[in-house]
Subunit: 152 residues, 2 copies
DNA sequence: GTTGACTCCGTACCTTCATACGGAGTTTAG
DNA sequence: CTAAACTCCGTATGAAGGTACGGAGTCAAC
């Protein structure tokens, strides 16, 4: 039997050794005890599964903090499928928002690109013009905080 | 005439004082000289325009590093509209990629959500099941680097 | 002429997710 | 037995884009 050292666990889980240590520091996985009579820590299969869970969830856009919560739910005997579902829905909505935001950006870029001649001097470039203050809000009256109303 | 101190410039540009200092450190904007006979630095209108440019570009998804390049282009008399256009196109493609990635995630989440009963114990939750290694690649033979082929 | 609000400046801190380093100690192949 | 490879542990670094702090110095109003 090969002993499951940290590098073997990392290999099985498809991550680097440093990543496991990082997860341990973050409290996402538990660090096994050191053998009584000196030697290397031995990692249980459970840890490998746990790391795979973490990576799967990351691919779905969950942050390590959120994954920590999912893992806690998993350990909670009173936890309900509805909890997990709700989180998945929240994450989906979040992703949806991000997509919408990026689509706005994409649209704006498309407009700039099609309006730009693509040749000639920069001062005729509509992209640069747009970026340089066009709709300057003209002195928004934000002066140093309490001094502003004064006649200085 | 009110003197354009850093906080007034910040107010006009719609950013915080610390943000201006940060941009100065990053070399995105130039720090005005201190008056000869002591006092506060006076910011030209140019700086306010420049900060607005930065923020506009940021909203289009450009990083500060990229914005620095755009600003250099702007200052370059030999710069061509085509340069800017090419950058905009590259950025749009980048945004497109991100959207595609997020859409994949969204789809995966949607599938998980619709497969989940939404009630009942966690061990019947298809989401948790999916996250927990289902398709375990079973011992991918990644052992400590050179020692792996040995019969240990 | 004092007080309160700012400026100035460097440095430290924040978040996220790791990766890298250095100098122990340990293990194992040969 | 020895040397290579690995573990252990703390600390440092990276990008990105700021925010916060602390102790000067300055300025402006009353």
């Amino acid at each position: 039997m090969t002993t499951m050292t940290i590098s073997r666990a990392a290999g099985k889980a498809g991550v680097g050794v440093e990543t496991i240590r990082f997860y341990e520091r973050k409290g996402l996985i538990e660090q096994p005890r050191k053998p009584q009579d000196a030697g290397f820590r031995v990692y249980p299969e459970e840890t490998v599964h746990r790391i795979r869970f973490i990576r799967q969830a990351q691919e779905l856009g969950f942050s390590l903090k959120e994954i920590d919560e999912l893992l806690s739910l998993r350990a909670d005997p009173g936890a309900d499928s509805a909890d997990v579902r709700a989180r998945a829905i929240a994450k989906r909505d979040e992703v949806e928002q991000k997509i919408a935001h990026l689509q706005d950006i994409q649209l704006a870029l498309d407009e700039l690109i099609s309006a730009c001649p693509g040749k000639g001097a920069l001062h005729e470039c509509s992209i640069m013009e747009t970026l340089s203050d066009v709709g300057t809000p003209e002195d928004v009256a934000v002066s140093p905080k309490k001094r502003k109303a004064r006649n200085d």
